[in-house]
């Protein structure tokens, strides 16, 4: 306890050294949108210490969960636009409007850094009566509703991937909802579900150990981490219009934050993402590092929102039309 305390003091002392007038002159609050131990949490806790070195300030990270992340977004948008509250989130807020989860999304924020994106992959239980995507499609068409797909609720990655598949292929499956991809992948190994659209990073260890079998990457090219798994476009080139697509992680501040503060944060996080240890971590987990900020990041977010909103809307799982929020249909 005592060392913890002196450690905390030492950390404070260490970080508060630069002149006080300059940002950051006090601790910065980092609101993590998802729970401790999840992908977003791990990525943020791994990159932030590197960014702190550059920033010369302490970022105190807290998990604020609930409401598919909407509670954290709402909290962060209610704070002052002074750069002392960072929102550390994933892709979900971009779907809040069409999913009827409130009217605040990343358009009320400025991206500090879009750190990385994940590659979706279709994995199956080892006992499933198919080994490739084509065999799966054939099997499902012969046995409608018998194959159980894992899901994480409407708007989650599995639902979007399933919607994407269904937009080009006729697939009637039973979607069994789970709390997150972790529990769903556990259920996949136990045979409670047959197929799971997951993030490569979350499933890669189980695939390598041969506990689940990969069917196809939802991407346009094969991935270094699993070179033998074919991209979906090999069998179905029609999916190229939607891809590349995937979940992402980013750090945001409220709109209206002074430009020099945003610049300083962006610079710090860009340096943090560049760190070799962090790059290694992202590689190991199968994430594609993006490290973009400013207009580039904004463009990425806009495109992501437009593609995905219309996809879920056309699949009939959205509550409102993207048109209502002036989200243009992708060209």
């Amino acid at each position: 306890m005592k060392t913890l305390f002196t450690g905390a003091l030492a950390a404070l002392a260490f970080t508060a050294a630069p002149a006080l007038a300059e940002y950051p002159e006090k601790e910065i609050q980092g609101i993590i949108q998802w729970g401790a131990g999840g992908s977003t949490d791990t990525v943020m806790r791994a990159v932030t210490p590197h960014a702190e070195e550059m920033l010369g300030g302490k970022v105190v990270m807290q998990n604020m969960t609930g409401g598919v992340g909407a509670i954290a977004v709402k909290f962060a948008s209610a704070q002052d636009a002074d750069g002392y509250t960072l929102l550390m989130g994933a892709e979900n807020p971009l779907l809040y409007k069409v999913m009827g989860l409130g009217d605040i999304d990343y358009s009320s924020f400025v991206p500090v850094n879009v750190i990385a994106r994940g590659v979706p992959i279709l994995v199956a239980n080892n006992d499933a009566p198919f080994d490739t995507l084509e065999e799966m499609v054939a099997y499902i068409q012969e046995n409608p509703n018998e194959v159980k797909f894992g899901s994480t609720g409407p708007g989650g990655l599995p639902s979007v991937v399933t919607a994407m598949l269904q937009s080009e292929i006729e697939l009637t499956v039973t979607a069994v909802p789970y709390d997150g991809d972790g529990p769903a992948l556990t259920a996949l190994q136990g045979g409670a579900i047959d197929v799971m659209p997951a993030v490569l990073g979350a499933s890669i260890e189980a695939i390598k150990a041969g506990r689940i079998k990969p069917l196809a990457l939802i991407d346009t090219q094969a991935n270094e981490a699993l070179p033998d798994v074919p991209p979906i476009t090999e069998a179905y080139p029609a999916f190229e219009t939607y891809l590349p697509w995937g979940p992402f992680f980013g750090v945001f501040v409220k709109e209206g934050t002074p430009d020099d503060v945003v610049a300083k944060l962006s610079e710090a996080y860009a340096a943090g993402v560049e760190n070799a240890d962090f790059q290694q971590l992202m590689d190991d987990r199968g994430f594609q590092v993006m490290n973009i900020s400013g207009d580039e990041a904004q463009e990425f977010l806009d495109k992501w929102q437009s593609v995905t909103s219309w996809l879920v809307y056309d699949a009939g799982i959205a509550k409102a039309s993207p048109e209502e929020f002036d989200i243009p249909r992708p060209e």
């Binding site: 306890m1 905390a8 508060a16 006080l20 807290q62």
Partner: protein
């Protein structure tokens, strides 16, 4: 102190409130998704609220049947002034926490309540409060970095300043 064979003051009223609450919650549960499917989001809440309604009605009936009353009065034995006052203090604390900040509110709360309950020197109460608050602050704010509302006290700046003193002005 509860004796199931006798009626406590306010017991019938409480049972009625619980029936009302259960009925209201059942109605709200039905509103969630109606009776559309066994797997609908409202199915489980409906079942739970239904169980509440059935048991609360049965409890009310049994309470009404109790003949004997306990020789107690509501405002002296169930909710005496000291309990009501303490609860009001806590409510006040919760309301003041955001605008006034954690440190002043807690100090005020502790000093006043210890003084009122103990009736022994205001200064003594203040001292005890200050010491215990310091301990709570160190554990929650410094070690566990729980950011309590700072309110009127510029805590972040003070901590940074203190930190600066500790580092002895050495620059990175």
């Amino acid at each position: 102190m509860h004796d199931p064979s006798k009626k406590m003051p306010g017991e019938t009223a409480f049972a009625v409130v619980l029936v009302g609450l259960s009925g209201f919650l059942l109605w709200q549960a039905i509103l969630i998704s109606g009776f559309e499917a066994l797997s609908s989001p409202g199915a489980f809440p409906m079942a739970a609220a239904f169980a509440m309604l059935v048991t609360s009605v049965a409890i009310l009936i049994k309470t009404l049947r109790l003949r004997e009353r306990m020789a107690l009065r509501f405002f002296t034995d169930v909710a005496p002034p000291v309990i009501l006052a303490m609860f009001a203090m806590m409510l006040g604390y919760a309301l003041l926490l955001k605008p006034l900040g954690f440190l002043p509110t807690s100090l005020l709360f502790l000093t006043v309540s210890i003084f009122a309950l103990r009736r022994r020197g205001l200064l003594w109460s203040f001292g005890v409060s200050l010491a215990s608050l310091a301990l709570v602050y160190v554990i929650f704010r410094l070690v566990f970095t729980v950011l309590m509302p700072s309110g009127v006290v510029p805590e972040g700046e003070i901590l940074a300043w203190l930190g600066n003193l500790f580092s002895g002005g050495d620059t990175q």
